[in-house]
Amino acid sequence: MSLLKLDNLETYLGQYHILQGVSMSVEEGSITVLFGRNGAGKTTTLRSIMGFNPSTSGFVHYNSQRISGISTHLISRKGIGYVPENQGIFSALTVEETLNLAKAKSTGEAEEKMEWMLDLFPDLKKYWRKKSGLLSGGQKQMLAIARAYINGDGLLLIDEPSKGLSPIMVEKLMESILKMKEKTTILLVEQNFLMASEIGDYFYIMDDGKIVHEGMMQDLKDDKETCQKYLGIA
């Protein structure tokens, strides 16, 4: 069953026509990866789902309810957690304050979710009282993911979590994301094909604001021509 459905989404940023009829769906309990080159429209897709860059036409349905056209905070309250590309860390807040803030409007059992996140990312427990701005890049990403999950565990939108991280940290993070699949659904935007293809169930490829390919991840791994054409992978 599709948990999230985008239907012919058109989004403009100023005079630029960024999303040009994007349609896609995310199955419940899956990891769906959205690939594409820089500027293809991946981040705008997530931002349009969250209502930051509202679409001018088309629809977004979550849990069979239309969420396009409503305010971001109301979209979030439906159970959608968001990890932006820049992580959106509140640098002057401690880890504790950040996660408490995530609990404020949390959907579901916030305490339970918090405990699970601290088990999954023990570094957050270790640096509980530390200012978030002083954490390492990987720890910030863990915090951003934990915050999103505690806030809304129905669907997680994660934008390029591997960006700027060391290969070891990326591997660790991907293992954690894979574990999170047991309890939530994930729409992942990634450029790191090798890593994302290991954890993804389904994929979409964007190019120039349009979905140009979609299917099962295993099929993409076997399709060298598509990988070469759109992702630059030989």
Binding site: M50, L74, G88, S91, A92, L93, K105, T107
Partner: protein
Amino acid sequence: MEVFINLLVNGVSTGLLIFLLAAGLTLIFGLMSVLNFAHGGLFVWGAFSGAWIFKETNSFLLAIVGAVGIGMALGWVLERFLIRPVYGNHVRQLLITLGGMLVLSESIKIFWGPNPIRVNLPGWLEGSYQFDGIIIIKYRVFVIVVGLLLYMALWLLLSRTQIGLMIRAGVMDKEMVQALGINVKGLFTFVFLLGAALAALGGALLAPYSGVVFAEMGMQYAILAFIVVIIGGMGSLQGSALASLIVGVAGAFMAYYIPDLSLALNMLLLAIVLLVKPTGLMGEKGSAV
């Protein structure tokens, strides 16, 4: 020694009055990125309405409560109808809040006429304390106590409560706060009303302090508050408190020892701070407390 202590008390009390105006201004800027020139208008309305209620009822407490209520009501109208439509557009904000400031100042004259109004001290705050030949005016001590209590209350609000946590996070990243399900527009209104209440309270406390209120005082104090906010670091409550005390105390000493330079003092302080630390004394992105 007597002169030193008197100047210090005068400076601290003036500084804390400026802080009441600057605190709202800095929070509004930090969270909403709004340069609110109309803030001085709320201050002058607080001063006049407080003075008027005090004169009519002879109750200073009622005067303060009434002034704060009127300030908040005007603040709500300003935020809802003037500022909300121009969020994110600094040029329009500047024009519309300057216009709001003028309208608020001039409308004072409709209700209370064009002339300055004399304001007396409440009976229980008249007189002074004397220690070893040092005379300290009671009302100034009262202003210091109220100012410090309010600073502590604001600090507790921002650092110890859920709404304070939301405000601090909102100062750093409004979008992310929305993505956590928090209604930022509601938060904006709350902060704006809080700022309006502080400005009106500052005005109501200043009226008996200065002994006279006039319609143009709003702009005069708004400029002072802006200087304080910039010196302290835009968006920082602690920075505003520190800068208010520096401006108040330095102003008191300068007016006594080098009166010719006292008018230039604030600009001088502003220039020095901006040269040495352009973000202000405690201004760092994301630090509301």
